[in-house]
Amino acid sequence: MPLDTSIYPLALLRLDGRRWNELRRIHAQVSVQAAADGSSYLEMGNTRVICVVLGPAEGKDKGQRGAREGEAKVGVEIAVAGFSGMERRRRVGNKRTSEMQHCLSTAFSSLLFTHLYPHSTISISIHILSQDGSLLAACLNAATLALIDAGIPMSDYLTACTVASSASSSSSDTATSDPLLDLNGLEEQELPFLTIGAVGEKVSVLMLETRVRMERVEGMLAVGVEGCKRVRAILDGVVRTYEKKFG
């Protein structure tokens, strides 16, 4: 169903009317929940995510109170709400969510200054309320905001976005194969894409689940890093306005 790939070269406009390098509307709030140590709410287009951070605190389960000697353990739990997709489903995609959990946990273990909190656990729980593409990217961005709200020191924002290669992998003309930034659900189904998470200029998370031609990857990465920079500016703005209001 090459819906996008057939229309795109004509007007250079995507399904929802964006150009190749435009992000969807990102709206975020921090400190949305009084009971948690840190929390955030993030909308990237129609993808909506709530993230709650508890800790650093002594872990609940015996035996895994802290992870390794002298470092905090980062536990991630992702719950996909039954009403989040087009059709209502109970317990959606266990394999997929556990992969995302692992991805977030490793990404934030290396980003946070976990050595400051030995023998403790930082638990991040994410509720996916509505999904429309760029799910992993939204989770990463929401978790970054919630961790900042919780006051856990980290070196820089970890921001993420998705990039696709617009031409299908078989076509050979490279003239119209712009990389596309920040995909929605429909585009994600059709195009090969990668999720990129960057700390400053450095790539920290990179997830590619589909086939894509070798020579396109570099362009995609360049656009992705640029997109992450813009997401960072938006998230930074959210944190700063919150600071001004309540800080």
Binding site: N46, A79, A81, R88
Partner: protein
């Protein structure tokens, strides 16, 4: 029903005793001393928060308890079931006696709804699906929702199809206090603002819907006309939590107050049908308060360290405790609630301008304003 593990608070017997004595004052001094016995915790509520659901609502209480409800409706094929009327018409057709029926009678789904058309799930962080707390909460909420029967009849499309309503309740924060009242209020708001696409096909055709969302019909229909007062004809029920302590009745208790309660009642009520004010009771349930599990204090007279005499046997200890029940040393409350007190609670809930009417009107006002 069993108390939830999450509702346990770590207060010492002395603290519990102090809390109880302040709540026993007339009027009671609550933990949040600015609140009277009928005051609810302040809340922030919004509806239509999810783009992909038929209805949704989110309510956050001041103490951090937060719930989100999404309502999703899907068209499902009904199983054909023989009804007495249907069978009779079939027989008469078979006998060659064809009779034309009035179309109006067949189309409203009066009494045709089924309980299985509404499915509810409650998710609470830290609990599994099949743990006692989520299962009890879900069944209590479904029970009160289906009691009137009007909701399930409204899901009827035609003899072959119906709407299946999925109500998913998420508690976004840990279960700090007993979350029943919050979940019920959030569900109420979500259902009140739910809309179903308008039906374009007629009678027993395959259902075809108007794709214009502006033309959609609310799940709980509103009265037409009368300018500002667009009150819905029927509104979903709401559950309020009331707690008795001595002769005092306190509504919407917080976690610490529940820990010293004599008895807790969950009262499901909906707006009354006959008059525009007041409300009617749908069900009442007692809830085992977490106070039954608190540890008792040891009075000086029973403590050998403070010059008392330790009781020789456990039976002895029981009798001594019985005698000391009013001495101010904390003993977990036992027994239930007096009938007079239940009557008083019910009256406070259903009377004109009572608690139930206030809650339902407040939730209605969120949608209007």
């Amino acid at each position: 029903m069993p108390p939830s593990q999450a509702a346990l608070v770590s207060l010492s017997p002395a603290e519990l005793s102090y809390l109880r004595s302040t709540l026993l004052q007339v009027p009671p001094i609550r933990l949040d001393h600015t609140k009277g016995p009928k005051d609810f915790r302040s809340m922030r509520a919004e509806y239509d928060v999810l783009p992909g659901a038929n209805g949704s609502a989110r309510i956050a209480l001041e103490d951090g308890l937060e719930a989100l409800v999404g309502v999703k409706a899907e068209v499902e094929k009904s199983q054909w079931r023989p009804t007495p009327a249907g069978r009779a018409s079939r027989l008469s057709v078979a006998a060659g006696d064809v009779e034309m029926k009035d179309g109006d009678e067949e189309d409203d789904g009066q009494g045709k709804g089924q309980v299985s058309w509404v499915e509810m799930s409650v998710e609470i962080p830290g609990f599994r699906d099949d743990d006692a707390l989520p299962v009890f909460l879900a069944s209590m909420l479904t029970e009160s929702l289906l009691s009137s029967g009007e909701l399930k009849d409204r899901l009827y499309i035609n003899s072959r199809f119906h709407w299946k309503l999925y109500i998913d309740i998420l508690l976004l924060s840990p279960a700090l206090s007993y979350p029943l009242a919050l979940l019920s209020m959030t569900t109420h708001l979500a259902l009140l603002t739910s809309r179903l696409p308008a039906l374009k096909s007629e009678k027993d055709e395959d259902p075809l819907f108007d794709d214009d969302w502006d033309a959609s019909v609310p799940l709980y229909p509103k009265e037409k006309g009368k300018g500002t007062g667009s009150k819905p004809v029927d509104r979903p029920p709401v559950i309020v939590l009331a707690m008795a302590i001595g002769q005092n009745i306190i509504f919407d208790p917080c976690k610490e107050e529940l820990a010293v309660a004599d008895a807790v009642l969950a009262i499901a009520c909906s707006s009354s049908k006959t008059s525009s004010t007041g409300s009617r009771i749908i069900s009442i349930r007692t809830i085992d308060p977490p106070s039954h599990l608190t540890p008792p204090g040891v009075p000086n007279s029973m403590n050998s360290a403070t010059g008392g005499v330790a009781p020789a046997s456990s039976a002895d200890a029981l009798t001594q405790r019985e005698l000391l029940a009013t001495s101010g040393v904390w003993t977990p409350p036992r027994g239930g609630m007096k009938r007079g007190l239940i009557g008083q609670v019910v009256k406070m809930v259903v009377e004109t301008g009572g608690v139930a009417e206030e809650v339902i009107d407040a939730l209605q006002a969120i949608e209007v304003g």
